[in-house]
């Protein structure tokens, strides 16, 4: 019976652990993508330095603005030429008569505020246009929001399944010991006295059951982290896993606490029905 209970904790925590790692990393990727969302405010060519300063001030006063970076039209052209590689050379002709605008690159503290901020900036004086990847960004935010919600629901669902599974397994163990509980009650044991060994047993089962998932998830993540980072080292960002340290230690602590908590919970819930007088 003890083996069955420990196995139930092990299997469920292994699922929770793997899922947790996937969710946390997906969340990190989503955050990285979100943080890449920016508003490119094209400044009207008619604006002088004073107008630009005024515009920057107006933007910063919007609230929720994380950063405003100025990029001159010359720098914009250099970036364009660089980004096109060999083909960019033909654009060098424009260095004499640069048709591009000076730009403010605006980032909001909360990426989802980008759209609202862009709409407000568009209405400001000396703003030629404010672009943020309209259409695509809304879809991106929607996808990220849905995936986060689905992830949360799955984690919560998984936790409830784990509790149910463990509670049932321990219930079977306790059914086998109901005679012991019955006799304890008959000779005058208090409920606290009866619960105590089951509390310790639940705690012990939970901790024991969390050892394998902690070891498995930690070592798997160690190799996966090395493997994926080696493959993606040329990439500047987008897909980057959460650093091994301290993530794996935090995850181990979460799994250990979760194991102990559901072990105790399952044990106490199961013994409860035998304590009613």
């Amino acid at each position: 019976m003890t083996f069955a209970s420990v196995s139930a904790v092990t299997v469920t925590l292994l699922l929770v652990g793997v899922f947790f790692v996937i969710m946390m990393n997906l969340n990190k990727m989503a955050t990285t993508i979100e943080e890449d969302v920016e508003i490119r405010v094209h400044i009207d060519v008619a604006a002088n330095e004073k107008d630009k300063d005024l515009l920057e001030e107006q933007i910063s006063e919007l609230g929720g603005i994380k950063s405003i970076t100025y990029s001159s039209k010359e720098k914009e052209l250099d970036n364009l030429i660089d980004s096109l590689g060999d083909k960019g050379d033909s654009f060098k002709l424009f260095e004499q008569d640069n048709p591009l605008n000076d730009v403010f690159i605006v980032k909001t503290k909360n990426p989802t505020d980008t759209i609202k901020a862009a709409e407000k900036i568009k209405k400001m004086n000396y703003v030629s246009s404010a672009k943020y990847g309209q259409g695509k960004v809304e879809k991106l935010f929607k996808v990220i929001k849905i995936s986060r919600n689905v992830g949360m629901v799955l984690i919560v669902g998984l936790l409830f399944t784990a509790m149910f599974l463990i509670s049932n397994t321990i219930k079977i163990t306790i059914m086998a010991r109901r005679r012991e509980i019955e006799i304890m009650r008959l000779v005058g044991a208090t409920n606290a006295f009866i619960r105590w060994p089951f509390f310790l047993e639940g705690l012990w089962l939970g901790i024991l059951g969390s050892i394998v998932p902690i070891a498995a998830v930690s070592s798997a993540y160690y190799y996966l982290f090395d493997f994926i980072q080696a493959k993606l080292k040329d990439q500047e960002h987008f897909i980057q896993l959460i650093d091994f340290n301290p993530f794996v230690y935090q995850l181990s602590a979460v799994l250990l606490i979760m194991g102990a908590a559901i072990g105790i919970w399952g044990s106490l819930m199961s013994v409860r029905k035998f304590l009613k007088v």
Binding site: R179, E180, M184, R185, L186, V187, G188, A189, N191, V277
Partner: protein, 228 residues
């Protein structure tokens, strides 16, 4: 000692197990509870240690009103009542000594006191030499003696026995009755539900007969009164 006034019990399934029960049992009495199967004897017995609560009426044991007894005080009541069952209710993985000591451990008695009292009690029931054995290594009579030892180890004022000789042969039943007699002689009240006509008619004590959930007879030094 034990008092019931206008006690009735109707179970949630509608079965009316007892109705209009009035009894008074004095400290040190020995009382047989007799009646056919399903008459209400078990409900009557279980009410005394608060395993079953009455639907109506009041029960008082050792001066405690069970009708008003809060749930968390039930263990305290049971520490002053010993209970013996037909099926012994021993823990098979514990030795004779441990089964008896268990009743003292749950009330968190001192280890030295436990050791002394358990050995004294095992001597009283004649099982001191088998203290280390498991229940499975004992005969039915010996197992019942362990159960009796467990019920009296905390020196309760009352011992309630629900057909304690039901699973035993006649000779062993007499041995068990002798132990109950000895316990009773020391001043402990005994309430025993039984189907054993020979015992009731030979070792004379008060007899309460229950039929259809009502007391139909209550006689000092009575007879069994049924064909067994």
């Amino acid at each position: 000692m034990i008092e019931m006034q206008e006690v009735s019990k109707t179970y949630p399934n509608g079965v009316n197990a007892l109705s209009g029960i009035n009894i008074h049992i004095e400290q040190g009495e020995f009382v047989y509870v007799v009646g056919t199967s399903g008459a209400g004897k078990s409900t009557f017995i279980k009410m005394m240690y608060r395993e079953v609560r009455p639907s109506e009426g009041t029960i008082s044991v050792n001066g405690i009103n069970l009708s008003k007894l809060r749930l968390n005080k039930v263990p305290l009541l049971r520490r002053n009542i010993g209970v013996v069952f037909q099926d012994f209710k021993l823990l098979q993985n514990l030795s004779v000594y441990e089964n008896v000591a268990f009743a003292m451990e749950v009330i968190e008695e001192q280890p030295a006191v436990i050791k002394r009292r358990v050995m004294e009690t095992l001597e009283l029931v004649g099982l001191k030499h088998k203290a280390r054995m498991l229940p499975t290594e004992l005969s039915g009579g010996e197992q019942q003696r362990v159960s009796i030892a467990r019920s009296i180890v905390n020196a309760p004022k009352v011992v309630i026995a629900d057909e304690p000789t039901g699973n035993l042969d006649p000779e062993t039943s007499w041995e068990i009755m002798n132990i109950f007699e000895e316990i009773n002689l020391r001043g402990t009240t005994i309430v025993m539900a039984t189907h054993n006509k020979e015992i009731v008619n030979t070792i004379k004590h008060r007899v309460i007969a229950i039929e259809g959930g009502k007391i139909v007879r209550d006689e000092a030094k009575g007879e069994y009164g049924y064909e067994s």
